[in-house]
C-alpha cells in the first residue's frame, strides 16, 4: 500500500502523456485489439455526441486523507491542488443558469477544501434537484472538525455517495489502507444516526463499489443485496443503493495493471465485454466535469488524462452550454471501461 501519490513518487505514470502513450501503443497499435473509435464506428455511434446536460460534476481538489490503490485521481495528502474561491464563484454562476438537475461534488476529499462548506451553502440555494457530495467516509472521522459533517449534509439536503470497496475489512483495507474499513463503518453509523440511508428516508446514502483488482464488477443488483445483507447483519448499517463502477485503466490502476502484468489481459477483458448498448448512456453524454482549476472535461476520467473538451469553450469562466452541446466527446481506449458489460458511470451501471 503506497502512502504517497504517483506524482509525489515521481512515477512516470503520473504524466498524462505517458498514460495516453500506453493506451495508444502496444496491443492497440499492433492491431491485436480494436481501438475504442473502431468499436463505436462499427455500431454507428461515432463521433460520440453529448445529449442534454444533466449533471455538472465539480472536482474541488485532489487533496485527500487516503491514498487508495486504484484512485484514478491520484489523490492523497501530498496533493495540494484545490479549487479557489474565485473558481468556485464562477462555478456558482454556471450552477444558477445551467439546465443540469444534478450537481456532483467530488475530489480527492472535497470536504478538505477550506471553502467546501461555504460552497455547499451557496450551491444549495440554487435549487438543484440532486446535490451529491462524494465522501470517502473516513474524512468524517479523520479529525474533530469534520465530525459534524453528517449534520451539515442533512441541513443542506445533500445526497451522500460514499466509496466502500467491500463489506469485509480485509478487502477494503487492502485497497484503501489499514484502518479504513473500521473508520468507514463508524462514519456510516454516524450518517445512519442522523437519518441517512434509512429505509424511506429522503436523506440519500448510496455506496460505490469498485473491484479490488484486475477484474470487472459483477451484477450490481446482486452485489447490492450482498452488501446490504452483510452490513445490516454485522454492523446494523443501512444504505439505499450500491453503484458498481468498473476500474478504468488510468493513473494508479494503470500503474497497478502494468506492475502486476495484468494490463493486456484486463484491456482484452474490457474489449471482449464491449456492450454497444452501453455507449448511448455513458456519463460523458450528459455530464460536464469541471477540474479544480476550472477547466472543462467530458468526464472525470478525461479530466485525469488532461483531455479537455473539444470546444472553443474550455474554462468555466467562459461557460456556454450551447457551444458545449455542439462538441464531439473526446475518447480513447480507457473508454472501454465505461462500456464493458452492463456499462459503468459515476451513477453505476448504464445498460
Amino acid at each position: 500500500m503506497a502512502t504517497k501519490s504517483l506524482k509525489a513518487r515521481n512515477n512516470d505514470i503520473a504524466n498524462t502523456q505517458r498514460q495516453l502513450e500506453i493506451l495508444s501503443n502496444g496491443i492497440f497499435a499492433n492491431g491485436e485489439l480494436p481501438t475504442f473509435a473502431t468499436k463505436i464506428k462499427e455500431t454507428n455511434q461515432f463521433p460520440l455526441r453529448p445529449k442534454k446536460l444533466e449533471i455538472l460534476q465539480i472536482n474541488l481538489g485532489y487533496m485527500c486523507n487516503q491514498v487508495c490503490d486504484h484512485c484514478h485521481v491520484d489523490a492523497g495528502p501530498d496533493r495540494k491542488e484545490i479549487m479557489t474561491i474565485e473558481t468556485m464563484n464562477q462555478c456558482l454562476e454556471v450552477i444558477k443558469k445551467t439546465g443540469a438537475h444534478t450537481l456532483d461534488l467530488t475530489g480527492g476529499a472535497p470536504e478538505m477544501n477550506p471553502n467546501f462548506r461555504w460552497f455547499v451553502e451557496e450551491a444549495s440555494k440554487a435549487g438543484i434537484k440532486d446535490f451529491i457530495v462524494r465522501s470517502n467516509l473516513t474524512i468524517i472521522k479523520a479529525n474533530k472538525k469534520y465530525h459534524d459533517l453528517p449534520d451539515f449534509f442533512k441541513k443542506h439536503g445533500v445526497h451522500v455517495v460514499s466509496s466502500l470497496p467491500h463489506y469485509t475489512k480485509g478487502k477494503t483495507d487492502k485497497q484503501r489502507g489499514d484502518g479504513v474499513f473500521d473508520k468507514s463503518i463508524e462514519a456510516l453509523k454516524s450518517l445512519n444516526e442522523v437519518g441517512y440511508g434509512m429505509p424511506n428516508s429522503d436523506l440519500k446514502l448510496d455506496l460505490v463499489y469498485n473491484p479490488s483488482g484486475a477484474f470487472l464488477p459483477g451484477n450490481q443488483q446482486a452485489l447490492e443485496q450482498d452488501f446490504k445483507k452483510a452490513l445490516k447483519a454485522d454492523f446494523d448499517i443501512n444504505f439505499h443503493n450500491l453503484f458498481a463502477i468498473t476500474n478504468l485503466p488510468i493513473s494508479r490502476f494503470l500503474d497497478y495493471l502494468i506492475a502486476s502484468e495484468n494490463y493486456e489481459d484486463y484491456m482484452t477483458a474490457l474489449v471482449d465485454a464491449f456492450n454497444p448498448s452501453a455507449v448511448a448512456n455513458v456519463m460523458c453524454t450528459n455530464t460536464i466535469s469541471v477540474s479544480w482549476d476550472g477547466f472543462l472535461y467530458d468526464c472525470d476520467f478525461n479530466q485525469m488524462l488532461n483531455l479537455k473538451v473539444a470546444s472553443k469553450v474550455q474554462h468555466i469562466s467562459a461557460y456556454n452550454e450551447e457551444l458545449l452541446q455542439n462538441r464531439n466527446i473526446v475518447i480513447n481506449q480507457h473508454c472501454f471501461g465505461c462500456t464493458a458489460g452492463a456499462g459503468s458511470s459515476c451513477q453505476g451501471v448504464v445498460a
Binding site: H166, Y209, G213, F215, G218, D226, T268
Partner: protein
C-alpha cells in the same frame, strides 16, 4: 502449435466449439447459461459450487473462469478456499469410502 496441452488463451475460444456442431453447441451453451442463473440457489452460491467442482475435476480453464467469476461477484478469498476444501473433502471422502469395499473383500477372502 503450442507445446503445452493447456493454454490460458484457449478459454476465450470456448465459444468456437459451436462452429463444428452448431445445434449441439448451441444447446449446450443455452443449458449452461440457464444453469448459472439465479434460481433456488443464487448465482453466487452456484459460482462457489462451480469453483469447488472445477478443482475436483482439475480443469484449469474452469478454475481460471470461476476464480475470476467469484472475484467479480465479490466473493472473498476465504470463501473461495472453503469451497475448494469442500471439494477436496468430497474427493478424499470418495476415495476413502471405497476402503469399505476393500475391507469387505478382505473380510470375505482372508480367513
Amino acid at each position: 502449435m503450442s507445446k503445452n496441452y493447456y493454454d490460458a488463451a484457449d478459454l476465450r475460444k470456448f465459444g468456437k466449439i459451436i462452429e463444428w456442431n452448431e445445434e449441439l453447441g448451441t444447446k449446450f451453451f443455452d443449458y449452461y447459461g440457464k444453469v448459472f442463473e439465479d434460481g433456488a440457489l443464487s448465482a453466487r452460491e452456484k459460482s462457489l459450487i462451480a469453483l469447488a467442482v472445477a478443482h475436483t475435476e482439475q480443469c484449469p480453464y474452469c478454475i481460471d473462469a470461476y476464480t475470476k467469476d467469484s472475484l467479480q461477484k465479490g466473493i472473498t478469498k476465504e470463501e473461495m478456499m472453503e469451497a475448494v476444501h469442500v471439494g477436496a473433502a468430497i474427493k478424499s471422502g470418495a476415495t476413502l469410502v471405497h476402503g469399505v469395499q476393500m475391507m469387505n473383500i478382505v473380510n470375505k477372502l482372508d480367513s
